[in-house]
């Protein structure tokens, strides 16, 4: 815990703000849906599209769904999808990178080419493509984001592995018969933890934004599922009469993404080589 406290102190004001936002988001995602007064999918036809007021604190959306309840559930969706895809992408990427670094030669070349191919796709396009084939569901979104997001971790882990392999004590350990797994656990992970953490802290807001974009395009959450992106898509239809429906989820999204990005920035500075 003291390590964390020290880390927190090393973050600048922007970074601390970002950490606060991240914590708030985490908290709301986990606890929020229980706190919310109504079921996010409960309809309330007489109060459809009403502006914020009593009964619906942030207003009502299409069919009278409570915007606040949808925001809280949407936070959970964003949490699950982003954490899920980042963890899966990190696992996949670290594995591929480690294998590449350890085997060397043709296999390494092949795997790194695969990384290049995935990186060759502009931004969201690969995720859109994968989602379009698999169909709209949160599970498919996680899959799509995993397959478009593992490359950073792969490059990181390969670089770490290569650096490790060049260390004398590692080749000594190998000569003595230590298994690669042991080396990985004792040496690779502690060294890579810092950069991996930073990568993940940037990966999470990117995944949140990607899920929201996919849901906005109709490729993410199935209709009726609360998701910030889907809510904005819904709100965009009613801009003329109910702009609040698009306003609030967008603010949430922007604030969360901003906070996490600031945290990532500060973490990267705090964990810069020489201090990690």
């Amino acid at each position: 815990m003291s390590g964390l406290a020290r880390l927190y102190r090393r973050l600048g004001p922007a970074g601390r703000g970002g950490a606060l936002v991240a914590a708030a988001w985490l908290l709301l995602s986990l606890v929020g849906p229980w706190l919310s007064p109504v079921d996010p999918q409960a309809i309330d036809l007489p109060r459809e599209l009403q502006p914020p007021g009593t009964g619906h604190w942030l207003g009502a959306g299409e069919n009278g769904v409570d915007v606040l309840a949808q925001l809280l559930s949407g936070a959970r969706v964003s949490l699950v999808v982003s954490l899920g895809s980042v963890v899966a992408a990190a696992a996949l990427g670290v594995l591929v990178g480690a294998v590449a670094g350890l085997s060397g030669g043709a296999l390494e070349e092949l795997l790194m080419r695969a990384v290049d191919v995935v990186l060759a796709f502009p931004g969201l396009l690969l995720a859109i493509f994968i989602s379009s084939v698999l169909g709209p569901s949160l599970r498919n979104v996680v899959l799509a984001l995993t397959f478009s997001g593992w490359t950073g971790y792969a490059r990181l882990s390969r670089a770490q592995v290569r650096w490790l392999l060049s260390r004398e004590y590692v080749s000594a350990a190998r000569a003595l018969g230590a298994s690669p797994l042991r080396i990985a656990l004792r040496h690779l992970l502690p060294n890579a933890a810092g950069p991996l953490l930073v990568q993940a802290t940037f990966g999470i807001p990117a995944a949140i934004l990607a899920e929201a974009s996919l849901s906005f395009l109709g490729l993410g959450a199935p209709p009726g599922t609360p998701s910030w992106g889907a809510l904005i898509d819904q709100g965009a239809q009613y801009l003329l009469v109910a702009p609040h429906v698009a306003l609030f989820p967008g603010l949430c999204l922007a604030a969360t993404v901003l906070g996490l990005n600031l945290l990532g920035d500060a973490l990267r500075d705090a964990l810069a080589p020489g201090q990690g």
Partner: protein, 480 residues
């Protein structure tokens, strides 16, 4: 004028979408049309009679002209109908004409249709647009039809724009506008803004009630409504699965609160439906409606064997396919919420129009949300519920009984009703409606009003209860 989706065809022999049919009516009218009470009235014909129960004869008006100046004669009528009867054209209307044995051009202005047996409803089907002989016999869908309608194409139709100008040789008063451009704007906000900005003058239908407030207050626009003959409904696939069980269908029917949806979601601009026909129809008969009764719905589901609930609290999972039209989607979500309350989890699948209609015609659905744009001919019941009207490969997937519903007694009633004369028909249809309320081939929802928005540049617009665009023939363009 703005429409929400592109017309699938302007050739009235092929058009299935409402936009296609309504625009093509302006270009190529037919022998007859319908008044607001759903009775057939002469259009290109000046009169029609049934000399005997197997023959119907039309007498054309004199001096009818096509847009290209040629005369419209019985030969053109004959050619148009015969082209539909030819299976190679692949017209979805062919099924409706399978009673026709022969189309006879008795003289220049008289056409006789010979049927193989008595079939009164045919009259309603004969409202199809008439094409010139050359176009009719071309063997394929006509992209730029020539007709005898009040408007003609001034340019080849594009995907999103149809440009029309008044036809000077029209047999009634020529519309007093300079031009009528029909533009496809898929986004509803953009449609409304175009109206608010003065870039568009007309919108017939294609407007969600939720957005009406933005339009009502605008000084240059007025909202005109009329009770409609269209029907919004859900069609269950009876081929198999839970929806094949009549108790499940009845449960679903009772689980939906039509009154609340009509009041709150549709701003009162609809009437809850008990069956296919609206209350204003000449053949309408009261039948026991599906009142909103969730308790009864749950009991029926228990009886049907779906008493056990899973870990998510749901006893039954169904899917509902609908189009991507915004209003239909939100209505589907309302139905989803109402069904959840009785333990049925409904997955809503919005599909693009082309994909949606294909899936529906192919029976690739469990529940589908559809809408008859206008219900005029009570024989639609037979086209929609009779066992010989199921779309299959053998008939090229024409046929409107998309749920594959089969009921012997109903078949017999509807068959007989199509043969006898009007007085007896009403009685038979009354019995049919009672039977339909019992067996629920479809789940009727409501009859939506026809809501139109016109700008101050348009005078003389009187909406048709069928949502037709024909009233545009009588409008006049004025400077604001």
């Amino acid at each position: 004028m703005l429409v929400e989706s592109e017309p699938d065809a302007l050739d009235d022999r092929m058009a299935l979408s409402a936009a296609g049919q309504r625009i093509s009516q302006l270009i190529t009218p037919g022998l007859l049309t319908f008044d607001d009470a759903c009775r057939p009235v002469p259009d290109l014909a000046e009169s029609f009679v049934w000399p005997d129960e197997r023959t119907v004869e039309f007498r054309l008006r004199p001096n009818l002209r096509f847009h290209d100046g040629s005369s419209l004669t019985a030969g053109d009528v004959k050619a148009t109908f015969e082209s539909v009867l030819d299976p190679r054209l692949g017209s979805p209307r062919r099924r409706s004409y399978d009673r026709i044995v022969q189309v006879e051009a008795v003289d220049e202005r008289t056409v006789r249709f010979h049927l193989d047996r008595p079939f009164r409803p045919l009259l309603s089907e004969l409202a199809m647009g008439i094409l010139p002989r050359a176009q009719a016999l071309s063997g394929a869908e006509v992209r730029a039809p020539v007709g005898a309608g009040p408007f003609r194409l001034s340019a080849p139709p594009e995907r999103d724009v149809v440009q029309l100008v008044p036809f000077m040789g029209f047999h009634r008063d020529v519309p007093r506008v300079r031009a009528l451009t029909v533009r496809v704007v898929r986004d509803e906000t953009a449609r409304v803004l175009a109206l608010l900005d003065g870039q568009a003058d007309l919108l017939i239908g294609a407007l969600s009630p939720a957005i009406l407030p933005a339009v009502r207050n605008h000084p240059g626009l007025s909202v005109v409504t009329a009770p409609g003959t269209g029907l919004a409904y859900l069609v269950p696939n009876v081929r198999g699965g839970p929806t094949a069980d009549p108790r499940v269908r009845r449960a679903l029917c009772h689980a939906i609160d039509r009154t609340s949806i009509v009041q709150n979601k549709l701003a009162g601009l609809a009437r809850p439906a008990t069956g296919l026909l609206p209350a204003t129809h000449w053949a309408y008969a009261a039948a026991p409606p599906c009142d909103y009764d969730p308790v009864l719905a749950e009991r029926l589901l228990d009886e049907a064997g779906y008493a056990r609930r899973g870990p998510d609290g749901m006893r039954l999972h169904l899917t509902l396919k609908t189009s991507t039209d915004r209003l239909r989607r939100t209505l589907a979500l309302v139905v989803q919420a109402e069904l959840r309350a009785v333990g049925v989890s409904l997955e809503v699948q919005p599909l693009e129009f082309g994909v949606f209609f294909r899936d529906v015609r192919r029976g690739n659905f469990e529940l589908a949300q559809l809408k008859w744009a206008s219900v005029i001919e009570p024989d639609l019941m037979r086209a929609a519920f009779a066992s010989d009207q199921i779309p299959e490969e053998a008939n090229g997937f024409t046929g409107f009984n998309r749920g594959a519903f089969r009921d012997g007694p109903l078949d017999a009633l509807l068959e007989r009703a199509s043969e006898v004369d009007p007085a007896e028909r009403a009685a038979l249809y009354a019995q049919a409606q009672v039977r339909e309320a019992e067996v629920l081939p479809i789940l009727p929802l409501w009859h939506e009003d026809v809501v139109s928005v016109v700008s101050s540049r348009v005078r003389g617009y009187v909406p048709s209860t069928h949502g037709f665009f024909r009233p545009l023939e009588a409008i006049q363009e004025v400077s604001p």
